[in-house]
């Protein structure tokens, strides 16, 4: 799905104002920079919000928005020193409750992250979820994610980083090669049910991405970590494209396009003919391609190059051959 930058909606601005005011009250005096850092917004957004707050208030007894019915700030400190000091407060004292959907977003996010070692203390997580439900203005929406057990590999990785020591493990690449890897862990990433470790690989002398479920027997070494997350710029995309990448033309059912979106280059040229989308994906080698295509039978078909078609066909044929040899009565492929 294409991402488009959204203009900030008026309701988002309202949510921001209702959150900013109680924080400003608590702070007493604060700089525009500090406020921007706290809320992760620009200084211009803070200044705009403060100017709006300073002229807002309630109609009051006279219904005329008189001086005492409005917020006020110390204007000289704001104008001359970029400082925010509320000198008159109206109607608002405390932070707003979460909406039912907001509480649900937090709760389902926590459930999704239950594999993290940080979330291993289930009773602490349960009490946090209960607190969110109590702090919501409505029952949290019924959106939930299946919780999983704390992941042993992630726990070892986190421990190694905390100790400042490299982690080593056996790794089975998608080409089917067994390798011993020693890694400075940099980041844990996930997309839905797939989890990855990104780290500096001492075997390859480069940043590499490892699937957590392909890591076998992880253990902490006694070698200190040489590269830290702060030293290495990690590309945003999980799979670093490389000049060695192979381009493959495929036909795909329109409904399945999102399933292969991660493999499509940004400038992929897609055409639609007879209800089938013809597009290009890039893969680092055909070993990964054959697994991907075989898991989407009848949905994705390789068109070109012929070598790629052959690799996929061979992969499927090797499998059917095994079934035929174990069950001689099965009709053979035509």
């Amino acid at each position: 799905m294409a991402e488009r930058p959204k203009p900030q909606h008026a309701t988002d601005k309202l949510a921001f104002l209702l959150s900013l005011v109680p924080w400003l009250i608590d702070q007493g005096s604060v700089t525009v920079t500090e406020a921007a850092d706290q809320f992760g917004v620009t200084e211009a957004q803070i200044r705009d919000a403060v100017r709006l707050i300073a002229v807002s208030g309630i109609p009051g007894e006279t219904s005329a928005y008189q001086h005492g019915d409005l917020f006020d700030i110390a204007w000289d400190r704001f104008d001359d020193h970029d400082e925010i000091v509320l000198t008159n407060m109206v109607a608002i004292d405390d932070s707003p409750r979460f909406s039912g959907r907001e509480a649900a977003a937090f709760i389902a996010g926590l459930q999704y992250l239950s594999a993290l070692p940080e979330n291993a203390d289930r009773s602490a997580i349960d009490s946090l979820m209960a607190k969110l439900a109590r702090g919501a203005s409505a029952t949290p929406s019924q959106v939930a994610v299946e919780a999983t057990d704390s992941d042993a590999t992630l726990a070892v990785v986190r421990e190694s980083v905390a100790a400042g020591l490299q982690v080593e493990f056996d790794y089975l690449s998608s080409k089917g090669l067994h390798q011993h890897r020693r890694v400075d862990p940099l980041r844990i990433e996930s997309i839905d049910a797939d989890w990855y470790l990104r780290g500096w690989c001492h075997l390859r002398e480069a940043v590499r991405t490892f699937r957590i479920d392909r890591i076998v027997d992880p253990r902490i070494t006694d070698l200190p970590i040489t590269r830290h997350a702060a030293d290495v710029t990690l590309p945003d995309t999980l799979f670093e494209g490389s000049t060695d990448d192979l381009l493959v033309t495929i036909d795909v059912a329109p409904s399945a396009v999102p399933l292969i979106a991660d493999y499509m280059p940004d400038d992929a040229n897609s055409t639609s003919v007879d209800g089938v989308v013809r597009t290009t994906i890039h893969v680092s080698h055909y070993h990964g391609l054959k697994r991907l295509v075989a898991s989407l039978p009848g949905v994705v078909t390789v068109v070109d190059p012929p070598e790629a078609r052959r690799v996929v066909a061979d992969w499927a044929r090797a499998a059917t051959a095994r079934y035929e040899s174990t069950n001689p009565t099965a009709p053979s492929a035509t």
Partner: protein
């Protein structure tokens, strides 16, 4: 001079921030246009006014006195546009979780003109005893980040603003995490809205093994992710039978029927997850894996896998067609032994791939 400063914002030329699609209440050309108040200023002023009132304000009190409405209020009584604006604003404010209440005047039930509006402070403010430790703040930051793309991203962003409002700071995590839950199913967004509003919806659903989609009319009860896939748990409107639908198999748009139902109460999402777990536990497959293969490594790490013999694994699954796709991807590394239906399904998939590429 501060008092003078207060006057300026309303007089400044302001960007048109009216929501798109809203009918514009163009003043008659001969009258001078009232100074335009930005939408957020009108909404903020409405919240402040309704928080400040104990007894509530009537609609005409709001429209004639609150900043952003009063400028457009006509004393002669033609305020239909403004009244519609107020209705939309109420919805927007409630979407943020602000408990905007209506109170009927004694003896005047059903009379819209005497209906009073207010925001009770106790249900608006976060209870004073709720605070979050640095560890909890770290976890909540991570939890919100999960939704940064797509559905619930608006909600998680607003939830973070409210969390930051409390002033707590997060721990610097030992290890960086960039985690992401995607709901790529187009049905997710409209279904979560329907869930929120308890509205009955209609969609076409393609059941595996059937060649034609059938239209279902259901009351959505929960949206749950199980084994990486989103499911809708819903009650069928005509039979009252509770069913689980895989979002990926919904092949039409989600069409609201215009009717709503009484929310069922209880922890519907836990019930839905429990049902899916039960199905998962009851379905097992026996497969033989090639030693040292990708299949051997990854299927052993799959949830609930037991080793039946050296290279024979017992797997759990919830949907035969989905696990058949998954196992077909492993090609010759997996040989399905049992059940026969799964074995046949995998063979059929492999033959299709072979034929498509032969």
């Amino acid at each position: 001079m501060p008092a003078a400063r207060k006057k300026t914002p309303a007089g400044q030329p302001l960007p048109d921030t009216a929501p798109s699609g809203a009918p514009t209440s163009a003043p008659t050309p001969r009258e001078p246009a009232p100074p335009r108040v930005p939408v957020e200023e009108r909404l903020f002023s409405l919240v402040l006014a309704l928080l400040a009132t104990e007894t509530g304000l009537t609609k005409s009190e709001i429209l004639s006195t609150v900043q952003g409405y009063r400028q457009r209020y006509s004393t002669s009584g033609a305020n239909a546009n403004l009244e519609r604006q107020f209705e939309r604003d109420k919805d927007d404010i409630r979407d943020l979780g602000v408990p905007l209440e209506t109170i009927e005047s004694p003896g005047q039930a059903g009379n819209n003109q005497t209906l009073r509006y207010r925001i009770p402070r106790g249900s608006y403010e976060l209870p004073a005893d709720i605070s979050f430790s640095a560890e909890e703040t770290t976890l909540l930051n991570l939890a919100a980040m999960v939704w940064r793309e797509g559905s619930l991203s608006t909600e998680s962003r607003r939830a973070l603003l409210k969390l930051r409002s409390l002033g707590g700071t997060a721990d610097v995590p030992v290890l960086g995490y960039v985690t992401q839950l995607r709901s790529r199913d187009a049905a997710f967004e409209p279904l979560s809205t329907a869930l929120e509003r308890s509205s009955v919806v209609r969609f076409a659903y393609l059941k595996p093994g059937e060649s034609d989609a059938r239209v279902r009319t259901v009351m959505p009860l929960a949206l749950v992710q199980h084994q990486g896939r989103w499911h809708l748990s819903a009650e069928e409107a005509d039979t009252g039978v509770r069913k689980t639908f895989l979002l990926r198999r919904i092949v039409s748009e989600i069409i609201p029927t215009g009717t709503s139902f009484t929310p069922r109460g209880g922890d519907q999402s836990s019930i839905a997850l429990r049902e899916l777990d039960e199905v998962w536990n009851n379905h097992t497959a026996i497969v033989e894996v090639m030693p040292d293969s990708d299949a051997a490594t990854r299927l052993r790490k799959r949830r609930g896998t037991e080793t039946a013999a050296d290279d024979t694994l017992r797997l759990h699954y919830s949907d035969l067609n989905i696990i058949a796709d998954e196992l077909a991807g492993y090609g010759p590394e997996v040989l399905v032994i049992d059940p026969p239906a799964l074995r046949d399904a995998v063979i059929a998939r492999l033959r299709q791939t072979e034929n498509d590429h032969g």
